[in-house]
């Protein structure tokens, strides 16, 4: 259990340090593993995760050394538009299981993942195991935000309205398991009216926010399901994976508590986020923040003016930029506004060695501290 802490597995694509001899018995434990012949006795299983973040989470569930875990996307690559090579494709074919985020995050890989799955490699989609939020398409216009101000803390939570949603049954037991009772209630209330608008506008096409990993409670929901999948489909040792899953879940629960505590001093009036990439929806939902505006790629002058207006009106002291995208428009905006700074968060990928965001847990801790420090605590 002690060997399962998130800290031993730094980000990157190298194989993890050997923790224990491989468990050859695992093959006979899992009947489904018989289908994937590549579960060789001598070689550890190969697990491919799409992003560095999911690779780190998977590595923890796989006890560090039970399987070789790699990420397809190199560190700092944008998952939305990464173009893979044939050797990426070959690596995916060799994998025993592929761990993806889903919810259309891995757009550049979509066709490839489909064809790999058709060729017989099982795919675990983390997004299937949690409640999702819809994107606020009107983020720019500010209509929603102004109308709903004051009551709309948690953005929209899709709990009640997404009946057609694939994760219907999962939602229920996710609610039981997660230690998120304090949020869930009022998220339900204000979810209603908004969700209907969205369903009409967007036809369900790519409208779900894919950035689920920025909420550790949702990650924990995926982790609970990831362990059994690794045992069944990649032939990992069931007992050890269960132990490491429990240890990691405990770590995630600690992380959640820690983030809540470190953000507690931020006064309610300051709980407003302006970001340069629309990725903090789940974070905001979990920790009672509100994403009031986003500087997306190529904002029009009218968008920028609106944004400046929103920032000034709300007295927002900082724009949160993510390492992955570069500050660009955000820093130009910050310069022109008095007293607005740029604060850097790791949201799309783990940081490099020495960045203080080498693992998922460290990354989230870094983000929470940065937000707490910037918004006043």
């Amino acid at each position: 259990m002690a060997s399962c802490s998130g800290e031993d597995s730094a980000g990157g694509v190298e194989s993890t340090p050997p923790v224990a001899p491989d468990p050859p018995a695992a093959v006979s434990d899992a009947p489904a593993a018989a289908e994937t012949e590549e579960v060789a006795e001598a070689e550890p299983a190969l697990i491919m995760a799409t992003t560095t973040i999911w690779a780190d989470v998977t590595r923890n569930v796989a006890c560090g050394g039970l399987a070789e875990v790699e990420s397809i996307l190199p560190p700092l690559a944008d998952p939305h538009d990464y173009e893979p090579s044939m050797s990426d494709r070959a690596r995916l074919d060799q994998a025993d299981i592929i761990v993806t985020n889903g919810l259309e995050l891995e757009e550049g890989l979509e066709d490839i993942l489909e064809s790999v799955e058709a060729d017989g490699t099982p795919v675990f989609t983390a997004g299937d195991y949690m409640t999702t939020l819809e994107f606020d398409a009107e983020m720019f216009g500010g209509h929603h935000d102004e109308e709903d101000e004051g009551e709309d803390h948690g953005d929209e939570d899709g709990d009640d309205d997404e009946d057609e949603d694939h994760a219907d049954e999962d939602e229920d037991h996710a609610d039981e398991d997660g230690d998120d009772d304090e949020d869930e209630d009022h998220a339900d209330e204000d979810g209603d009216d908004e969700d209907e608008d969205h369903a009409d506008e967007e036809d369900g096409h790519g409208s779900e926010d894919p950035h689920v990993w920025l909420d550790p409670v949702r990650v924990a929901q995926a982790v609970e399901n990831l362990g059994p999948a690794l045992v069944q489909l990649a032939g990992l040792d069931a007992d050890r994976v269960a132990a490491c899953t429990d240890a990691y879940l405990a770590e995630l629960a600690d992380l959640h508590r820690e983030i809540t505590e470190s953000l507690a001093p931020v006064p309610a009036a300051q709980r407003k986020l302006v970001t340069n990439h629309d990725s903090l929806g789940y974070f905001a939902d979990r920790y009672d923040f509100e994403v009031i505006a986003t500087t997306l790629a190529e904002p029009s002058p009218a968008d920028l003016e609106e944004l400046a207006h929103v920032i000034e009106e709300n007295g927002v002291p900082a724009i949160f930029a993510e390492a992955l995208h570069g500050a660009g428009e955000a820093s130009a905006l910050a310069e022109q506004l008095d007293g607005v700074t740029i604060a850097s968060l790791y949201t799309g990928a783990l940081g490099e060695a020495g960045s203080g965001a080498e693992t998922y847990v460290a990354m989230m801790r870094h983000n929470a501290r940065t937000i707490a420090g910037t918004l006043g605590g």
């Binding site: 173009e83 494709r89 066709d111 489909e114 064809s115 096409h205 409208s207």
Partner: protein, 302 residues
Amino acid sequence: MDFLVNPWEWWVEPFLTNPFMRRALASALLAVLSTSIIGTWVVLRGLSFLGDALAHGVLPGIAIALVLGGNVPLGAFVAALSMVGGINLLRRHSPLPEDTAIGLLFVGMLALAVVIMSSQSGTYVGDLTGVLFGSIAGVTESDLYRQLITTAIPLGGALLFHRAFLVLTFDEMQARMLGMRPRLAHFVLLALIAVAIVSSFEVVGSLLVFALLIGPPATAAILVRRVPVLMALATVIGAITTTVGILVSYHHDTATGGTMALSTVALFMIVLTIRTLTQKVRTRLHRLGHGTSGTVRATPAG
């Protein structure tokens, strides 16, 4: 140098061991077949710029199809056709040369695609990069069947209109006198270019489609003159460069679409360089009367 030292392992084994490599190869070869044959007319008639414009002119159609959730190839085809119509209209009504009309429509279509996609900001429909670069590593069998059918259309069209295109290309005046309606033939050719582009862009990306449309025929045109021979040679050249592209991407972890396009253009440069050098050597030999092979080797070889 592995491709020389271990030719079997480098060239053949990846296709034997990986079904996805075979599918990628089949898809690339189908794309080469239609683009090389239609592309031959593009190169011979000097329509490269139009081909480029069409390859990117499909984007707003794709953008609309993505936003509305419609059929992407259909959207692309409609966009390409409306672009062909637009070029004809502009050419007839503006006093400027045709390439100006093409250029304006080209940039207009691209801008339209960007504007359509940006109107969807906040949601993730941003599949356009996938359209530009394709995803040949993710070709499925049903993709291949669909491609097989759509490849048959430009091939059949090229066969059916071969004589008309030939006369149109080499003697437009005569075509008119023979009552062959060169305008109609021209329009049919443009439509076939559109079909060839649409049938291939989904797997290889619109950037590579354009590379395949003019790269192999241009390379072949350096070497041979007769149209059927040119088409055959272009197909062979395209097959070689795409195969090399796929293999380089496999062995050296490079982006597949880009590697295929690059090897296609690189081969053109190599062939052109070799031909220029041999021509120089030949004229020098000619001037010297009968030069020895020693002087040949002394010429700078780059």
